[in-house]
Subunit: 219 residues, 2 copies
DNA sequence: GACGAAAGTTAGCAGCTCTCACATATATTT
DNA sequence: AAATATATGTGAGAGCTGCTAACTTTCGTC
């Protein structure tokens, strides 16, 4: 809790100011700490089981301090979502890059990364796709959402050798995403259920990818 | 000790007991009124934008009255979810029954009913599949969820002429559900997005159903 | 060093959840 | 029909939360 609080000499002089994205005034980078705390709370207590006061408590500041960095409780949540979307997209890109460009495995790997993320952080995953209020005034989140979708589109486009803007590519990418999205939600919703427990993700995703991407030869 | 099963139907003797589903003690059937109020609030203000106090206000009772019918705010939400699941299942069954048994259209119609529900009541839909706390202690909700899944399974089983317990039937039904579930979520998440707006639900669902159910001849 | 802005504090209001003691209407028993 | 038990309502209140206001401290910059 209190390890990096007494960084009185700002590490700005240090050339290795690696992590802190924003120089700390008094304490540390409270903004990032709050987001981390909220992410933790969301993950353990559910999307609506967090409170700004508790997050502030965990960060070791007063309950009014967060409002110097976020105007709303919703804005904190948006911060968590934004950060999570960055990680999700990165994971998807890593998954795609781990296989031969244009291969079916590359497409399936994108889906696998998606499912893995949902399994690893179900609370955050639900939050990302459950934000209703605040979503209107958040063009950056919409852009990041499209960015994630873009990874799928890119994988499909590469496989087909078509531009990402192609209508068929878009349609098939949407089908894939819809499938993976649904599977992710169902798999975290009913952990004890029969059907999902018996499914091996990779086999499942490969089958799906093949089914959706196969008919291109005919078209 | 089944607190919510007091459908004693005392008005059975009354021939003109038209509207009131449950005889009123003091006011009306507060329980149902509260659930309706909460459903309305969830639909308009989002899943976490409701309050027991506001629901009580709308029902015209004091803010303590709801706690005579529900022990928690979560229990009210569970009541809303339970009621919504009943309607969802009914809609799915109606959709299936509207087409020839075993036809591809019957399968697609089940999915269409699902998507229609999500579109019509996105807030409630999100609530149904977003309940995290209270879900553990709610075997009735789990049972109803399986009941909904059972409709899909039944449609697939009928099409294949196989028993509902068949592993292949279960797997394909899960694939279908996963697809429709994902499409439903995406379609309510991004109303302004390009991809989903250009999709005609029925064509989409028919295509999906055909793709998933087709390879049976080979197997 | 002076000064303005950034980042933190305490105090406090309003609203929410939920409980407790009490009041009243209905159901059941005698 | 009277009495009793139970179900259903009310009001007051404790404790927590979201958020604001006014003040204080620290930092960067002239």
């Amino acid at each position: 809790m209190s390890p990096d609080q007494n960084t009185k000499d700002t590490s700005a002089s240090q050339p290795t100011a690696t992590v802190t994205p924003k120089a700390a005034y008094h304490h540390g980078d409270l903004r990032a700490q709050l987001i981390a705390a909220v992410r933790d709370l969301v993950e353990t207590h559910g999307p609506d089981g967090f409170s700004v006061a508790e997050a502030a408590r965990r960060a070791g500041v007063s309950s009014a301090a967060p409002y110097k960095h976020f105007k709303d409780r919703h804005e904190i949540l948006r911060g968590v979502v934004s950060e999570a979307m960055d990680r999700l997209r990165a994971a998807m890109e890593v998954g795609a890059a781990a296989h031969q460009a244009g291969s079916l495995d590359a497409v399936a790997a994108v889906g696998q990364a998606y499912v893995d993320f949902a399994r690893a952080e179900p609370g955050v995953f639900r939050l990302v796709f459950g934000l209703t209020e605040g979503h209107e005034n958040a063009p950056d989140l919409l852009a990041k959402g499209e960015g994630c979708f873009g990874v799928v589109v890119q994988a499909v486009a590469t496989r087909f050798g078509l531009p990402p803007g192609d209508a068929d590519v878009q349609r098939r990418a949407y089908m894939l995403w819809s499938f993976v999205h649904g599977h992710s939600f169902l798999t975290i919703d009913m952990k004890h259920k029969v059907a999902s427990a018996e499914i091996d993700d990779w086999d499942y995703l490969m089958g799906i990818s093949r089914a959706i991407l196969a008919p291109v030869a005919q078209a």
